[in-house]
């Protein structure tokens, strides 16, 4: 179909204000944070901004009847090309549809449309003493719809789990335009084992099975107290042991973060005021709950960790906690500071490793970096084995781009070889589908048959999550990673 006709048809469905077709608009929807998007231009044919289930349904019916691919999108803060139209077609920007429809404080639930920003949601919920615990680094910009589609999590997943544990039900528009509800959208029960769990099928499906148009989340009471402990290690190997020892002591912190020596250096160069101690590794433990338990747990974790660490600092002072936590918060960005002409790239950045293999993985990643002559800053959620790596290259040097891609490939394969997975929270998108067969084996065939059933024409975010059937090497798009 000619673009002109496509635009006209969509304008007839949605009105012209909700259809973007100017070249500069389309270019602005051609990127996300991924290394792959940096090296390619994934320009959609048209962008639409629907704000009702009816509009989404009409568009999907139209797309289904005309074999046009549709890519749903939130804030475009992803790192895997998940919301990019790598095969062209329609990008459906749902970020403008940002209504919180109901806060049911008594039942500790909230119902909203997909474009609500995570930080905005928690700001509203705080008025009721409630919160939605998953806490991504992109809280200020990412949408809850995107979080559900990617099953994202963040710093506090150790104690509070990931998004999927909070989704009670969804409204979904299927690729053929049919609207279904799953789980608790039309009921208020928290426990529900009725029927196949379709909610979990859509959570983390990365927009490949349908468009999520309504979300009902379970909420938790906001903890009354919080404390942060910084432990400094002269020997990297002792850090993961200090994580396991705390668990063995019967304590579950709300977050345990690691910065290796390169990350410490990067943070100190970026924000000298933070002034982290130079060491092989730093662990940051966050404890939350009621004030008495936080006090006791802080003392106990200090004692346990103190047996291995060179130095331990425990604080409940808001100012000091903010300083310590900021050290972790700026790491992702600070990574680029280790090299003046460099930028960190989002490639091989989200592996998840068994807890007892984290040290080994960090050492091996450093070796891989040396092999390619690329500095790699390591940090992440060591409490659940989710390691973030930040390769720093000059992304405008074609040779380095090639090396960066090869390095990312080795990191992904290392994760699989160590009994881990290629992604813990950022998702698969187009950049990691090539590893699907290795990761899932025969289960991949079942995934593909589910996809075929719900999306027989393969119009729903094609080229993501699952490799094209019959393509042994995953996506056909040149990835750069």
């Amino acid at each position: 179909m000619q673009n002109e006709q496509l635009v006209k048809d969509l304008q007839a469905i949605l009105g012209s204000a909700k259809v973007l077709s100017e070249k500069l608009d389309l270019l602005s929807y051609s990127y996300d944070s991924s290394f792959m998007a940096r090296n390619n231009r994934f320009v959609p044919d048209v962008v639409i901004t629907p704000t009702s289930t009816e509009e989404v349904s009409k568009v999907m019916k139209y797309a289904f009847n005309n074999n046009i691919s549709v890519t749903p999108r939130g804030a475009g803060s992803g790192e895997t090309c998940g919301s990019l139209a790598i095969q062209g077609g329609i990008v459906m920007d749902l970020a403008t549809w940002d209504t919180i429809e109901e806060i049911d404080a008594e039942n500790m639930q909230v119902q909203m449309r997909p474009g609500v920003i995570h930080a905005e949601l928690n700001k509203r919920l705080a008025e009721y003493g409630l919160f939605f615990p998953p806490d991504p680094g992109s809280s200020q910009m990412c949408t809850v719809g995107g979080m559900v589609a990617n099953n994202s999590s963040g710093l506090r997943a150790v104690k509070y789990g990931t998004t999927e544990q909070y989704v009670l039900g969804l409204e979904v528009v299927l690729p053929n335009g049919e609207v279904i509800v799953t789980g608790g959208v039309n009921c208020r029960a928290i426990k529900n084992v009725s029927g196949l769990n379709l909610t979990k099928l859509f959570v983390g499906s990365e927009g490949t099975l349908g468009i999520i148009t309504k979300i009902r989340l379970r909420l938790w009471p906001k903890p009354k107290a919080r404390g942060i402990l910084m432990a400094v290690f002269n020997d990297l190997e002792q850090a993961p042991q200090a994580v396991l020892d705390v668990y063995k002591g019967g304590i579950l912190p709300s977050g345990i973060e690691i910065l290796d020596s390169s990350a410490i250096k990067a943070v100190n160069e970026y924000k000298p005021d933070i002034n982290l101690p130079n060491a092989e590794a730093i662990l940051l433990y966050e404890l939350d709950g009621n004030p008495a338990s936080v006090k006791w747990e802080g003392e106990e974790v200090s004692r346990i960790v103190g047996l291995l660490a060179a130095n331990v600092e425990w604080s409940t002072d808001p100012q000091r906690m903010s300083e310590l936590w900021q050290g972790r918060a700026v790491t992702a960005t600070a990574a680029a500071r280790v090299r003046e002409d460099g930028s960190r790239i989002f490639a091989g950045e989200d592996i998840s490793i068994p807890l007892n293999k984290v040290t080994e993985s960090l050492k091996k990643i450093k070796e891989i970096g040396k092999k390619y002559g690329i500095g790699v800053v390591n940090y992440g959620h060591i409490g659940d084995g989710n390691v973030h790596t930040a390769p720093v290259i000059n992304p405008e040097d074609p040779e380095e781009v090639k090396l960066g891609a090869a390095l990312a490939d080795e990191i992904h394969l290392l994760a699989i070889a160590m009994g881990g997975v290629t992604t813990g929270e950022h998702g698969v998108g187009a950049v990691r589908s090539q590893y699907a067969r290795k990761e899932h084996g025969a289960a991949l065939d079942v995934m593909q048959s589910i996809k075929r059933t719900l999306d027989p024409k393969n119009i729903m975010n094609p080229g993501k999550l699952l490799p094209e059937e019959g393509n042994k090497h995953g996506t056909s798009t040149s990835s750069g990673s």
């Binding site: 608009d25 602005s28 929807y29 803060s77 970020a95 403008t96 910009m141 000059n394």
Partner: protein, 430 residues
Amino acid sequence: MALQQVPAVKDLLRKCVRCGKCRSVCPIFKEIKNEGAAPRAHVFLTQLMRDGELGATADVAERASRCLLCKSCSKECPSGIPVDQMVVAMRHHLHDLNNDTTKKLMLNHMFKDRKALGRARFLLQSYQSTGIKSLVQKTGVLGLVSKDLDKANKLIAPVSGTMASKNIPETAPAKGKRKIRVGYFLGCATNMFYPKRARDTVEVLTANNCEVFTPSDLHCCGMPHIANGDAESAAAMTRHNFKIFFDAGVDVIISDCASCSSMLQGDYYDQLFQELPEEIAHFKGKIYDLNKFLIDHVDLNNDLGQLPAVKVTYHDPCHLVKSQGVTKEPRQLLNMVPGVELVEMVGADQCCGGAGTFSMGHYDLSRKILDRKIQAIEDTGAEILTTSCPACSMQLGHGLNEHAMPLTVKHPVEFLAEAYRQAKRSTKIS
């Protein structure tokens, strides 16, 4: 300077990871809500232009014009990218496409030097005071000439009396023993629309042992020019202005205009000068916003009279809070004045949508941003609005007028001056 040579474009563009943090703080994105309006889209378009994937077209110029240069994104960018500098570079690169007659008139004739400003003021005052303005507004004739001229007609504050520069001596001696010789950069907007503010500035400085040198032959600071892509004019005016202060041997330069002090401090020097001229290098680190100078560098005279009780609120100009980090000083000044009760508004540090000529070119968008601000002001119940930028004063004054709110807009220094005068009056009476 060619786009490729601008340091921000050459050295920092590659650092953008397109994380979208800038979206979350951009006032324009908050209204338009699609990715094309996000600051990272500006960075991306700059990259495409630099690499020759996009040509210099009217469409690109229109996109580049959709930025307030408020620096919200630059301040928050985790990678430290000065997005506003990229936008300025783009506008410079696209300058030849700017055919707006109103802006050309203003930038090339009104804001070039003091004589031109005086002539413009005379014409404006005649226009405003003879009833022609109301006739023009009723007929809507300006809209036929230029869309922006019609908007400018609504937005420009009334001029009254004479220009400040006519009533301020070139050198005003310190009232006590001179401790410092201050160069007062009297910006065009304060000079033309807020002459009382300028007089109060000099009065407060001289009351605090400062000798104040206010040159009569200053040019515009260049901010409107650089914001509209005319870097050459901005550079020439900056050189001219600094030479005057250098030759006059002042110790520091101050301004009561956030935009002027921000420009003088060097927000865009990298784009204006390959190497910093000696006169400018001499003053690096010696240019202050008036509020900051009074709090940090003057042992303030505390002989302040009691003013009638009044509730005021303060709006942070972007060029102070985001460019210079000045936020507590104006509040400290207000809190010093007996009778003044300062109440904070929600989002005091959020842009008012003015941004100089932006509000003319994008009036409707600017109004949406302004209306949020006016609502925040109304919610405080304040009787007077204070701010430290004449451009913000004008925009906020327009908003208050449109909402039929009877608040006046003042600079904190005006309260201080009034309190000094009140103290003197009280002494005489007693």
